[in-house]
Structures are given as C-alpha cells and as structure tokens.
C-alpha cells in the first residue's frame, strides 16, 4: 500500500480528529511529508500481518507541549538521529517504523523518518488516539519496556534512556523535553514483529485516511461532514460510537504550558447562552462537563471542531470566539478494558470519577 499526496492530506485530517485535541496540529507534519513526497513519490505502508515475528519495529514521535511545537519547529534531523542510534545500540537494522500515537502530527511524523531510513511504516499505532504521557501506550499496558529509548532535539543533542520502569522513562523524557525547550523527538518501545502484531492498534493509519477522505468527500458534495465522520468511524470497526456533544462558541480559554504539557480548560457556550460545556485538557482533551454533568471521559475521544467545516482544532490552535462543535467518539475496545483503564482512564489523570463509556453517558446506540 502506498500513501500519496492526496492520502497524506486525508491522513492529516483523520489524525487531527483522532488526536482528541492533542498530538499537535498535523499541518507542519503534512508540509514536511509533502516535501518528502516531492522527492520520493509515495510512502510505503504495510499491514501488521506482513511483519516477520522477529522483525524490529520501532515506534516514534514527538514529546512535549503542542503550544511549543508551533514556534519551535524541527531541524529535520531529529528522527533519523534517534533511529540510527537505536540501530547502532541494538546492532541490527530497523525493519519498520510505527507512529507511537495516530493522533495529531505524530500520526504523520514517522512517514518521513521511515522514508529517510528506507523502511516501510506499519499501518498501526500504540495508542489508537493521542495521549499526553508515554506510559499510556498500549505496549506499556502489556508490560513491554519503553527502553532503550532515544531522545533527540533540534539543537542536535541526543540522550539515551535506559530504565526498566516505564513511568520513570516518561518522567525522564518529560524532563528532557523541558530542558530541550519544550519539545523533543523520541524513539521508544522497540518491538518484535510478534509483539507489534499482538498489541498494536491495527489499521489505524488507514482508518485515519478513511476518516479524512470521508470528511473531504462530504464537503465536496455539500453533505454534512459530521455525519460522514461518524459513519467512517463506525465503519472502521475501531470506534464504535460517535456524536456531537455540544454546539456553541468558545467564551473562555485557559491554556498554559506547565511541566512540559499544555494544560488548561475550554469553555464553550451555547449560542442562546443557556447552556455551557467545560473541557479539561492536558495536551489532549480529557473530560467534558455539560452544565456540570460529565458527558465524556478519557480514554474516549473528545475533539473540538469547526462547526461548519468539521476541521479539527487542536488545543494549541483554539482561540477565543471560535464557533465550534464538540465531538465525542468511543475509544477502541482495547483501551477500555479494566487493565487499560488503570493506565488511561480518568483515575490515571487524577479524576475521582469512575469511567463511564461515552455511549452510556449520552444514550447513544441504545
């Protein structure tokens, strides 16, 4: 399977939605991808089942605060430097690269890295969306070590992290990202082909492309792009429920870069002023309360979109006064198991509330 220029644009649209507000605006990653495509023609995408069990499959992506990523842009050498160091340390060639998370710019970034390295990208990812912290990857939930892991920055600096504790790995990576200006590239969770096949979220890149294509086609045909999005999510087999949670205007936005994350709260008021929704975020949108009542909780996907065009608006692109729809979607089932929720449920973000699936909170699909 190949990803050409049109598919890249669809991937950007789909990944922006699946990012749940995080992962960074895919626009810059798309520009980088387009420049690479001009040199190479297309990117190679392979399905999980084509991987040999003993293949070396390496997830990667950017770590830090998206609010920084719009000012501090990549030098372009970060990913290659990290991947090549990993090859040197493991004494073998990487067979394929994978996005650590499909959401946001991280869903696209590995395409260029893989092309430069001359290997394919695997149609899968480690989160099925985007999460703010590294140990929220599905691979950690299944007990795989994040290390050896390599963190690189625009300055040219390179740091290898070796620890058996994946939470400590995240803590170290976060501290490094802060020290490096708030954003860094990370190679992590090196996998065997067998592990990738067993645990990665399958097909998520092609799902993101299909979502983007559905929105694009609906716009071109003058049809409702939100309905097209919901249909595409349902047809993907990964995201079983989706719907509009709120429609209104952003009337307050608290957004601060703290501890290596972009954290804050969005307030959206209905146009009649009678109702409002508040969304908490830590890079990603985590939890939404409509008039005080919870309507969506992490790990379910929660994305702010332009109310007419259905463009996803990542947290760093939110602005006062934007007219938006808040859209929710059920997370993939593998993120909703009791064990997964310990890592990616509301409790993992300090909320006292027990997880309730978005379809139950909103009476969808009953």
């Amino acid at each position: 399977m190949r990803i050409d220029r049109a598919a890249l644009a669809d991937l950007a649209t789909g990944a922006a939605f699946l990012g749940s507000g995080g992962g960074g605006d895919p626009y810059y990653a798309m520009l980088l991808g387009e420049a690479e495509l001009a040199r190479r023609g297309s990117f190679e995408l392979v399905t999980l089942d084509t991987l040999a069990d003993d293949a070396l499959v390496v997830p990667c992506g950017w770590v830090g605060a998206p609010t920084v990523s719009v000012e501090k842009l990549p030098s372009g050498k970060e990913a290659m430097a990290g991947l090549q160091r990993l090859e040197a340390m493991l004494g073998r060639k990487i067979d394929a690269v994978m996005p650590i998370e499909i959401g946001g710019s991280n869903g696209l970034a590995p395409l260029v890295a893989a092309a430069e390295l001359g290997v394919p990208v695997v149609d899968a990812d480690g989160m099925g969306r985007a999460f703010p912290e590294s140990q929220m990857a599905i691979f950690n939930i299944h007990g795989i070590s994040a290390c050896p892991s390599v963190v690189t920055a625009a300055s040219g600096s390179l740091t290898v992290i070796e620890t058996s504790d994946n939470v400590e790995h995240e803590r170290l990576a976060r501290a490094l990202a802060i020290a490096l200006g708030g954003i860094a590239h990370m190679v992590e969770y090196p996998l065997s082909g067998a592990q990738a096949k067993a645990y990665a979220v399958p097909g998520s890149i092609s799902v993101a492309i299909a979502i983007g294509a559905a929105i694009r086609q609906a716009r071109a045909a003058g049809e409702d792009p939100f309905e097209a999005l919901f249909t595409a999510l349902w047809e993907s087999g990964l995201y079983a429920h989706a719907g509009i949670l709120f429609d209104g205007k952003i009337t307050d936005l608290e957004r601060e870069t703290q501890g290596g994350f972009s954290v804050g709260r969005i307030v959206i008021e209905a146009f009649d002023g009678q109702s409002r929704v508040e969304v908490d975020f830590q890079n990603e949108n985590l939890l939404a309360r409509r008039d005080g009542k919870i309507v969506a909780m992490v790990p379910d996907i929660l994305t702010v979109m332009d109310r007419e065009t259905a463009d996803s608006i990542t947290t760093e692109r939110l602005k006062y006064g934007q007219r938006v729809k808040l859209v929710g979607a059920a997370a993939p089932a593998m993120l909703r198991t009791a064990r997964a929720l310990d890592f990616v449920g509301p409790g993992a973000f300090g909320y006292p509330d027990a997880y309730v699936p978005i379809e139950r909170l909103n009476g969808w699909g009953a």
Binding site: Y27, P74, S75, G222, D252, T257, I313, K319, V324
Partner: protein, 541 residues
C-alpha cells in the same frame, strides 16, 4: 457626514452618509493611477449632495488592491526573509508549501540564521549580528528592499527581531522591514507568512495609499483618511501603508456588513458580484462568519481573523468564451462554452461588446436577455435564444453551486445580492428562499466602509499570582468596552471579539501578556469622529 469609498479592481464606488442615511452614491471606473478614480468618485458624491469638502468629517476607504495583487501575483516586490531560529525550523524553511507561481515572484532570498527564543525565554541560539549584516548586504546588492524578519517566540520576546531590523536598516538604508511580532501572534509559520506577504506589498502599498492621499488633497478634502481593516474597523493611512496585509480581507468584510446594514437582515448568504469575482460569505447574527483555523490568502496560510469567503471567477466583466461562429447556433454543446474565470476587469467600458469592444462578457449576455439595461444594446452581436439561454444557465449554475458550498444547513436560505454585477443574480435562484436586492446594492461595499466599526484593544502585562485571572480579564474587558464607547462606538452593541493571553514563562508569578479586543458599531446618528485604534501591538517588557 462621512464618505465611504470602495476601490475595487473594476470600479471605485463612493457613498456620502449622514448618520445612517445614504445621501449620495456613485460608481466610477477604477483608474490605472487609482487616485483620479478616487477623486472623481468623491467629487461626484459631494456634488450630488451639494456638500462642501470642508463639511466632511472623515473618509474611509476599503480596497481590494492588495488582495488582488496577491491573488493575481502582480505588482509584488521580491522579499528578503531573515528567520532567526536555527537550527530549529530548518526542516521547514520560509515559504514551504507556498504556490510556486507566488514564490517565483517573491524569490528565494531566504536566510536561516541563528537566534530565536525558547518558551522559557532562553535563547535557542545567540543572535549572530555579523551574519545579519552579511544578509543585509547581499539583499542590498541584489536590490531587494522589502524585508521580512521572523523569530521563534517573538510574541513573548521581540528583542531579536527588533535588533535584527535595526542592523538591516543600518546596512541597507533603502530597506523596508516588516517584523513578524507586529502583525501576528503565536504560530511561527503563519506569522512569518503574513510578514512575508506584507513585505511583498511594500511598494504597492506605498503607491496606493499615497494616491489616496493625493486624491483627497486634489479636491480639497482635509478630513482624516482611514483605511478599513480585515475585521471592519479602521486604521490610519500611515498604518495601512506599513501593514497593508491587515487590510487584505476588508473587501468582503465591507460588502457583508454593508449588505447587512442596507437590508437589516442578520442571517443570510451574501453574494457580492464584482467585475472579476463573486465573493460569497455568510452572515450570522449580523456578523460575517469567520474561518476558525487558518485563512488562505492567495494560497498562503495565515492566522488572521477574516470572513470565511468563497470567491469564484464570475463577475460582470467575466469573459464568455464561445466561438463567434456559434453565436447564432440553435443548440449549444456544453463543451463549446466556457464562462471565465478571466475578466476584462476595469477595461469593461472599452472591451465589452456593449461598449463597442470585441469581447463577449457576462454583462453583454445579461443585457441581451433583458436582465440588465446599460451600454448600447445595438452594438451587441446577433445571439440566438439557445445560446443566450445556455450561457445564462451556466452563470446560474455557477452561482447556485457557490451558494451551496457556503450553506451551513440544508434548506433554502436568504440571499443578499449586492455589488455592481448583482444583475447576474436573478430574483429566484435554485436553493434560495428569497433574493433581496436592497437599495444601493451596487455600492454595498462603500456603505460597509462608511459604517466602519469602532475597535479598541487593551494589552497588559499581568501576574496571575497577584490578581486572579477572571478579575484581570473582566477588568481589561471593561476597559476595552469603555474605550470603544469613548471612540464613538455603541455601548449597547459592543462585543468582546478576542481574548488572547501569552504566558511569559521566564518571568515569575505566572506572568502573562493579556490582550482584549472589543468592537462595536458607530453610534447611530453620531456623525463621525471615528478614530482608528490607538496602537497596534504595544509590547510591555
């Protein structure tokens, strides 16, 4: 009394308004020198109304000149770009992803130089003054005078951009420098794009704004001259000459606000048919619908707040491409006909057949079918009914498609038909509940300029550890509202349109630079001491 002028590619329109009454209006051809057309239009409305030039309190001009220059890739200066951020950002050099026909005009005079700041205020790399001097020298010897300077995190610390601009001006005295922090907020690529576009308009802006001033002087109007901004508020002529990019969306804003004002309708699709293009926009609650994420100007991404507009290549001067041998055909194959996207523009009065020219235009077809009445119909060639019907249907389909693309909900909508070419929109259009064509529809743009909004912006460096955030925002909002009222804005209609905070992480006490912007309509009946905003970005450090 005040005068609103709209300088388009084809026509220069003017209205003279007294309070909310349109006392006089005119439509004159835009002239190649711009100023004689403006002078003619203003003279015409003064004469019609019997008003002396000295009775005019202010003149507001909206122009699409700068937008057209970018769209048509004409009259643009080559631009030298200095980006202070390296090694960060080298993967995405300036103008990445820009249309190649635009970069061909702007050239590749790009310097990726060390500099810029981290989020926490540290330097990414120290400024290398020698390399800035070298770049300025190179640009000087290449005769590149328009220069854009960008730097990472300039909105939290503009010092490097300022210092670099100083050095460039020393080495290259003819340079006209645009610094990114003056025209944009967080988002390096978008801010830098806007700075480059602004720099590319340097010569044109100087020529156009000074031609406006000459026109006013020539006819003895000494009232202050204001230029419409993207959001419908005003800036001074001097500011517009320095920051033309801030006025680039004013054409659609003025036509939509003018249409809303003339009809009293608050929710509708506005179709402004000019000579070259039709701009289609959406009014919601009386305000133009804005793009949420990024606005493309001439194919370049920026993060300006601007109406979300669909422009199609169809206007009153649009060329109808059809082999003259087929003019009297009894049936017409769809493939034999093309309408636009090219236009005869301001040469319509010479080139359209109605005026004795040799180019078949949409205006010729509208007059031939009896939908409009101007020019000299006897000069029109013989056109069969089948041909006329086919061309007219094609025009209707183009309009209906554009309306459909801008619709936000299923169902029929109200259409406000304005602009000099509004005769191309019939009273019934597929998908429209009704078509409203208000009095003075032809000059809605100029009316929009004349009823400019009053804007005010307050910006303050605050510490949230000392004063709670909600208190700060409430205080600044009150102050912005008060300033709008003091400048002549209607306190009843004032709206807070932007609250923007940039955290200055390198300062203690949760320091943030908070900017609140309010706008309102000019108070009804208040004749006109509309003043532009006090300042553009004023930085507190």
């Amino acid at each position: 009394m005040r005068i609103g002028v709209d300088v388009g590619g084809t026509n220069t329109d003017a209205v003279l308004m007294d309070g909310s009454d349109v006392r006089a209006w005119t439509k004159q051809p835009t002239t190649a020198d711009v100023s004689s057309g403006v002078a003619a239009a203003i003279t015409a409305v003064l004469r019609q109304a019997g008003v002396a030039p000295g009775a005019i309190a202010s003149v507001m001009i909206g122009t699409t000149h700068f937008a057209n220059a970018l769209v048509e890739r004409s009259q643009l200066d080559p631009v030298g770009v200095l980006r202070l951020a390296s090694p960060s950002g080298e993967a995405l050099p300036p103008m990445t992803g820009w249309p190649t026909d635009l970069t061909a005009q702007i050239g590749n005079h790009v310097f990726l130089l060390p500099g810029g700041y981290e989020m926490d205020g540290r330097e990414i790399a120290p400024l290398d003054e020698t390399r800035i001097r070298d770049a300025a020298r190179t640009l000087r010897s290449s005769k590149v005078d328009a220069i854009a300077i960008s730097s990472a995190f300039a909105p939290i610390n503009p010092a490097m951009e300022q210092r670099a601009a100083e050095i460039v001006r020393q080495v290259h005295p003819d340079a006209v420098v645009t610094v990114s922090y003056a025209i944009g907020r967080i988002g390096l690529v978008e801010r830098e794009n806007a700075a480059i576009l602004n720099a590319a308009l340097t010569s044109l802006a100087g020529r156009v704004i000074s031609s406006f001033e000459r026109a006013l002087a020539a006819i003895g109007v000494s009232a202050p001259l204001y230029i419409s901004q993207n959001d419908g508020t005003l800036i001074s002529a001097t500011q517009a000459a320095t920051y033309p990019v801030l006025t680039i969306g004013s054409g659609p804003t003025n036509s939509m606000r003018g249409a809303a004002f003339l009809t009293g309708v608050t929710d509708a699709i506005v179709m402004d048919v000019g000579g070259t293009t039709t701009d289609v926009g959406v009014l919601i609650n009386g305000f133009p619908r804005e793009s949420s994420i990024a606005v493309d100007i001439g194919g370049v991404r920026t993060n300006f707040r601007m109406p979300d507009i669909l422009a199609i290549g169809l206007g009153g001067g649009t060329r109808v491409h059809l082999d003259p041998a087929l003019y009297e055909a009894t049936a017409l194959d769809a493939a034999a006909l093309r309408v636009g996207p090219d236009s005869v523009g301001f040469r319509i009065a010479e080139e359209a057949m109605l005026f004795g020219g040799e180019t078949l235009t949409t205006s010729d077809v509208a007059v031939a079918t009896g939908r409009a009445d101007f020019g000299d119909p006897s000069r029109l060639p013989a056109l069969s009914d089948a041909v006329l019907q086919t061309v007219w249907q094609r025009i209707q389909t183009m309009l209906a498609d554009s309306m459909d693309r801008m619709k936000t909900a299923r169902g029929d909508v109200t259409i406000l038909a304005v602009g000099g070419g509004n005769f191309l929109i019939p009273d019934t259009l597929k998908g429209a509940a009704k078509v409203i064509r208000p009095p003075h529809a032809d000059v809605a743009n100029a009316v929009g300029a004349a009823i400019a909004q009053i804007g005010a912006q307050v910006e303050q460096l605050v510490s949230y550890d000392k004063v709670p955030r909600a208190t700060v925002i409430a205080q600044l909002s009150d102050e912005a509202r008060a300033r709008v009222a003091a400048a002549g804005g209607d306190i009843e209609k004032v709206q807070i349109v932007d609250v923007d905070e940039v955290f200055l992480s390198y300062m203690p006490g949760r320091a943030a630079q908070v900017r609140v912007r309010a706008v309102s309509d000019l108070v009804e009946g208040r004749t006109a001491d509309a003043t532009p905003e006090a300042s553009l970005a004023a930085h507190a450090h």
